[in-house]
C-alpha cells in the first residue's frame, strides 16, 4: 500500500490523541499546544461534519518559536520545535497557513483540505541548508491495523540531501528526499532507527536511536533540523487507529472427510 493521499477517516469518532514523544533521549519533549482560536476554527455541528477535516500543524523549524495562524487566526503562539498543534477541525477547501515570528511573517502558504481527511501540515526546512522554510502537507494513513501491529510513516523534512533510513541495521526506506515519506506496517515493538546519506553507511545524519511503536496506532516520524548546526531531531506524532483482524489461531482443522487419506495422499506426513 502506498501512502495514500486524503485517506478517509474510517471511524468518525476515532479517538485521536497525542502523547509525549518516545525516542526520549532525542526528543526532549513533545508538547501539545492548545489551539487558542479553537472556537473560531472548530465546526461542531454534526450536520456539517462532512465538510470538515482534521489537521495537525507540526512545528519542524529547529531552534525557533513561532506563531501559527490559520486563515489569519492564531491557533498557537510560542510553538516550539517539535510541537504539534492540533487537532484542528477546519472547514474543507483552501486554507491559509501563516508562520510568524513576532511581527515578521516567516512564510505563508495555501493548502487544500478535502472533507473527512486527516493530515499533518509540517513547517520545516528544505533540503538546502540555506533554503527558506517550506510547508508540506502529509495525509495521515488511518487504515486499520491488527492490535499488535504498528502503522509507521517516516518523512524527510530536514535540511539534508536524500537519505536512507535504516531499521535494525538494514535499509528499510531507501533514498528518501525532502518532502517524501514512506509508510510501513510492522510488529509493535522498539526499533533501532538511523538516517544516513543515500547509499552510504555514514556519517550518521540522525541516530541510531530507539523508536518504540505501539500496536493499533499510526506513528508519524518527521526528521527535522540540520546536521551542521546540531539541530537534527525528530517529531513523533501518534494517532490511534481502529483495529482490524483477529488473534492468532490455536488450531487449524481443514480436513473433515478423509478422502485425501484414503487416496494415500497424506501418508507421507503421518509422522
Amino acid at each position: 500500500m502506498v501512502v495514500s493521499q486524503n485517506v478517509l477517516m474510517r471511524l468518525p469518532g476515532v479517538a485521536i490523541r497525542l502523547r509525549s514523544g518516545r525516542l526520549r533521549p532525542v526528543v526532549g519533549f513533545l508538547l501539545l499546544v492548545v489551539a487558542t482560536a479553537a472556537a473560531g476554527l472548530s465546526v461542531g455541528s454534526p450536520a456539517s461534519a462532512a465538510d470538515t477535516a482534521v489537521v495537525y500543524v507540526v512545528q519542524g523549524l529547529p531552534g525557533t518559536n513561532v506563531e501559527i495562524q490559520v486563515d489569519g487566526k492564531s491557533v498557537a503562539t510560542g510553538a516550539e520545535p517539535t510541537d504539534i498543534v492540533g487537532p484542528l477541525t477546519l472547514a474543507s477547501g483552501q486554507r491559509k497557513l501563516t508562520v510568524r515570528q513576532g511581527n515578521t511573517v516567516l512564510l505563508e502558504r495555501m493548502f487544500t483540505i478535502r472533507p473527512n481527511t486527516n493530515s499533518d501540515v509540517v513547517v520545516h526546512r528544505p533540503a538546502s541548508p540555506s533554503g527558506k522554510p517550506v510547508i508540506t502537507t502529509f495525509a495521515n494513513n488511518l487504515a486499520a491495523v491488527p492490535a499488535d501491529k504498528a502503522s509507521v510513516t517516516v518523512a524527510h523534512t530536514a535540511a539534508v540531501p536524500p537519505a536512507d533510513i535504516k531499521v535494525n541495521g538494514k535499509v528499510l526506506f531507501a533514498n528518501v528526499a525532502n518532502g517524501e515519506s514512506l509508510h510501513v506496517v510492522v510488529p509493535a515493538g522498539t526499533y533501532t532507527v538511523q538516517i544516513v546519506p543515500t547509499g552510504q553507511s555514514g556519517p550518521s545524519i540522525l541516530g541510531p536511536a530507539a523508536l518504540p511503536v505501539k500496536g493499533g496506532e499510526l506513528t508519524n516520524v518527521y526528521a527535522i533540523g540540520e546536521p551542521k548546526s546540531g539541530t537534527m531531531n525528530v517529531v513523533v506524532h501518534e494517532l490511534a487507529l481502529s483495529k482490524t483482524g483477529t488473534g492468532k489461531p490455536g488450531r487449524v482443522n481443514t480436513g473433515t472427510g478423509g478422502q485425501a487419506a484414503e487416496l494415500g495422499l497424506t501418508s507421507l506426513w503421518s509422522n
Binding site: 501563516t98 499488535d148 536524500p162
Partner: protein
C-alpha cells in the same frame, strides 16, 4: 529483500549526544535561526526550491519578497504536498494464490473464532488469516489455510500441498499486485502443536500455507496433523496488469 530482525529490546542503542536538543542547544539554535531568518528576509537567502527533492517543486518564490501581509490570498503560494518516496513498499491482502503448476484458488479473509481459524467452507477456496502480515510486509507470517478435503465436497484445493517441493514458487495476487515466494520447508506437526510459532508476526516476512495431513481419525472426524509449508519472498511485492 532484507532479512530484518524485529523487534529489538528497547534502549539497545542510545542516540549520540549530538542529536539531543537541550536548552542550551535550543538557545544557540534560536540565535542561529534568528540570524538566518534575518538574512532570508533581507533577500540574502536562496529560493525555497530544493534541487534534491522529487516532490512537486514549490512555487517560484525565489527572488520574490517574503509575504509581509496576508491581505491577498491569491498571491499566497501553495504548500507542497508530500509524496511517497520511490522506494515505498507495496503491501496487499491476497485475493488469489497460484501454486506450482499454475492452479489458482481465490483467497478470502479468515478470522479466528474460538481459537479455530475459520477457513472458507468451499474447499476450492482458501483463507488468509486476517490478523497476520499482508503480502509485501517486511516482517511476520502471512498465513493461508485451506481444506485438504471435506465430508461434503471431497478433495480440497490444498490437497496439492501434499506434494509441493522445496524450491517451487507460489504467487499471491490481488487485482493490481503480485508477490512471489519460494518454498523453503515442508513439515508436518501435530495439530495441537501448530500454534507454536507458526503465526508469529516478528522475524522476516514469510508465507505459511497450512492444511491437514497424516492419519485421518474417522471417529473424531479429523486429521491428526497439520502440513505447514513455509516460503520466503522473492523480491518485493510489485504492481501487475489489471488481471489479478
Amino acid at each position: 529483500m532484507e532479512q530484518l530482525n524485529s523487534p529489538v529490546p528497547p534502549a539497545v542503542v542510545r542516540p549520540p549526544a549530538t542529536t539531543r536538543v537541550g536548552p542550551s542547544a535550543v538557545g544557540a539554535a534560536v540565535v542561529k535561526i534568528a540570524l538566518l531568518t534575518a538574512a532570508l528576509l533581507t533577500g540574502a537567502g536562496c529560493g525555497a526550491s530544493s534541487g534534491t527533492t522529487s516532490a512537486p517543486p514549490p512555487p517560484a518564490t525565489a527572488g520574490a519578497p517574503t509575504p509581509q501581509s496576508s491581505d491577498h490570498d491569491g498571491e499566497v503560494p501553495p504548500a507542497r504536498v508530500g509524496t511517497p518516496a520511490a522506494s515505498q513498499r507495496i503491501r496487499f491482502v491476497p485475493s488469489s494464490i497460484v501454486l506450482p503448476g499454475g492452479s489458482r484458488a481465490p483467497v478470502d479473509p479468515a478470522s479466528t473464532v474460538n481459537g479455530l481459524l475459520a477457513v472458507p467452507e468451499n474447499v476450492q477456496r482458501v483463507g488468509w488469516w486476517d490478523g497476520g502480515a499482508q503480502a509485501g510486509d517486511p516482517f511476520g507470517a502471512l498465513a493461508i489455510a485451506g481444506h485438504v478435503d471435506s465430508a461434503k465436497s471431497g478433495l480440497g484445493f490444498f490437497v496439492q500441498l501434499q506434494r509441493i517441493r522445496a524450491g517451487e514458487t507460489i504467487t499471491l495476487r490481488d487485482s493490481g499486485h503480485q508477490a512471489s515466494y519460494k518454498v523453503t520447508s515442508i513439515r508436518s506437526v501435530p495439530q495441537d502443536a501448530l500454534a507454536t510459532g507458526t503465526f508469529d508476526q516478528t522475524g522476516p516476512h514469510r508465507l505459511v500455507l497450512i492444511t491437514c495431513t497424516g492419519r485421518y481419525d474417522r471417529a473424531r472426524g479429523g486429521y491428526e496433523r497439520n502440513l505447514v509449508v513455509t516460503a520466503m519472498p522473492v523480491g518485493l511485492a510489485k504492481p501487475v496488469g489489471s488481471t489479478g
